[in-house]
Amino acid sequence: MSILVNKNSKVIVQGITGGEGAFHSQQMIDYGSNIVAGVTPGKGGSFILEQNIPVFNSVEEAQSNTNANVSIIFVPPAFASEAIIEASEANIELIVCITEGVPINDMAIAMKVLEKNKTRLIGPNCPGIISVDECKLGIMPGFICKKGTIGVVSKSGTLTYEAIGQLASVGLGQTTAVGIGGDPIIGTTMKEILELFEKDQETEGVVMIGEIGGQMENEAALWAKKNMTKPLVGFIAGQTAPPGRRMGHAGAIVSGGDDTAEAKMQIMKESGIEVCESVADIGEKMKKSLETI
């Protein structure tokens, strides 16, 4: 088992004919993901990636011809929120938006459409999802993952890789790794991913990696305190970040109060989460947590 995507997921790629879209589509196919179609308005009727993948003019057309249930978005920031809305209106169940730099007002509007249609969105500004040996959606390097029993959820891309690398070094594989993105408005929260991992029978432990800014980690921690039965190891990046500065992710701004690294780590500790003071302890802590069950 895994969460969000598996080998039965039928995936379309919005923006498949662009440089990024084409490159990563090939990578995803090589990993074993079931990419059934691409969408680029104006290029409908053509084929791409060694003539294997049909391109359609709209998500609606692509969906009705292939019965796809998942879409991944690689379109430029100015068009990303529309791409999300288009996929949602075409009855896609899960959308992953990789695009970085989507205006916040655009995302605020897109979120309301997703709510109405009950569509799940991961991202934007995220590395995507890997359900190990089943389906890779996004830009994560597949080869670092090994099939196993740990779920990983993170706001940051390369820090997700770091966590996976450390899990591997202590002999732990993963079920699914999810990069939820670091923007102020994102489709799926850390708490929602924890809920999915808690329900997933194969997942035995979870690593959650947060950052300064926002309240998402606190919300997840308070939920976990009441509901999570599986071991949970946490880390927050940005303990040394100066207040009021934007650190790459639009979300990673410390504005005071309980969105600092210290405050979040405190709340996580109080919620029974094994909190890593140092990023280097993630693998070891997870191993120990599993041994003490």
């Binding site: 994560m140 408005i185 100066p242």
Partner: protein, 389 residues
């Protein structure tokens, strides 16, 4: 992106939000002329001289002076212009005042607080007002939260009159001032959306003795992601207010923020970059910077990154931490070797490369015979770089 108060007030005017009569001055020679102009137009002697820097806390730092007439105003302008204004937001270094705003003094009956921003957890805009204006709103929120009236605005529906009425009633306004406030709130929301602002704050918003509602201050921040469609806003950027090294990094598409320590860092990804700074600190060092070279780090990126890090004279050692996904470690290693040869580094460089093509990368570094210190993981890297100083 931030802008100056005087620029924000020009934007306010274009959205029919009332502001005091005032003009910005950027050279001392013009001060007297502009003061007289403000006095003439406002038919009042008293003016306020306000330092124009991006940081808040200007009043407490001595950057805002009430002046009863021409001679005091000229005096105050002379003092403020060119001063190094230190506030709680500028840090110890302070910020040089290059522009001042000369404004008519208002006869204030009441001071309010007013702001719009995004409520992240709800994905809606929150519009807040309070009768406790002029002071620190954080304190009001903490001590007397009931004194802050809030309305949440659905981005699909937008702001409606009933929202604005609730806010105006919340400020206990009546008669013509109530009507003016309702209009101001509706216009402020329009301004917020049309300019892709991330924060619009008026503190204080005032009721004058002659019963007018006026925005005495103005703070507008904008969503950096939306600047591509806000050319007019982008033209208001004042690079004097930004760190010169950060500006230089911006040219190379590098995400750099200067800090006060002596360990320079170069990392791919914002989260990993922050975690690298943190582990340097835990290992007993102090990070000199945040530097995210992004998802497409090439040999060139690495070289430019080195140049930026080394322009900070506090840097005594450098830690490179790359976890290659799309980024190929061998390319990064080549970049490191080239840069070290070309720039002739005289500080120790610790390199940790993991992920795509990391084995090839380690060979490249070993073959180069340069004094680059390899590290096996993040902990190892942080300990080695701190020890190398």
């Amino acid at each position: 992106m931030k802008i100056h108060e005087y620029q924000g007030k020009e934007i306010f005017k274009s959205f029919n939000i009332p502001v005091p009569i005032g003009y910005a001055v950027n050279k001392l020679d013009d001060v007297e002329k502009v003061i007289k102009k403000v006095q003439n137009e406002s038919k009042k002697d008293a003016v306020v001289v306000k330092a124009q820097i991006h940081a808040g806390g200007r009043g407490k730092g001595g950057g805002v002076k009430f002046s009863s007439g021409l001679s005091t105003a000229v005096n105050n302008a002379n003092k403020i212009f060119g001063m190094n204004l230190v506030t709680h937001q500028t840090g110890e270094r302070g910020q040089k005042v290059r522009k001042i705003l000369i404004e008519e003094a208002s006869n204030i009956s009441k001071e309010f607080y007013c702001a719009i921003t995004l409520d992240r957890s709800l994905g809606q805009f929150v519009f807040m007002v309070s009768t406790e204006g002029g002071m620190e709103i954080e304190k009001v929120a903490e001590e007397t939260p009931e004194k802050i009236v809030k309305v949440w605005i659905d981005p699909l529906i937008g702001m409606k009159s009933f929202h604005a009425r609730k806010l105006a009633f919340g400020l206990q306004l009546t008669g013509s001032a109530y009507k003016e406030a309702v209009n101001l709130f509706l216009n402020l929301f329009k301004c917020f959306i049309r300019t892709d602002a991330s924060l619009a704050e008026i503190n204080p918003l005032v009721l004058t003795n002659d019963n007018k509602i006026v925005a005495l201050d103005c703070k507008l921040n904008f969503d950096g992601n939306a600047l591509y469609r806000q050319k007019d806003i982008l033209s208001l950027r004042d690079t004097n207010e930004e760190d010169p090294t950060e500006l230089e990094a911006d040219k190379f598409d590098l995400n750099y923020i200067k800090l006060d320590g002596n360990v320079g860092c170069m990392v791919n990804g914002a989260g990993l970059a922050m975690a690298t700074m943190d582990i340097i600190k835990i290992s007993g060092g102090e990070p000199a910077n945040f530097l995210d070279v992004g998802g497409t780090a090439s040999a060139d990126t690495v070289k430019n990154g080195f140049k930026i890090i080394l322009s900070d004279k506090n840097v005594k050692a450098i830690l490179i931490n790359i976890f290659g996904g799309i980024v190929r470690c061998d390319r990064v290693a080549n970049g490191v070797v080239e840069a070290v040869k070309e720039l002739g580094l005289d500080v120790p460089v610790v390199v940790r490369l993991e992920g795509t093509n990391s084995e090839e990368a380690k060979e490249i570094l070993a073959r180069s015979k340069l004094s680059i210190i390899p590290a096996s993981d993040m902990k190892d890297a942080a300990l080695k770089v701190v020890k190398s100083i």
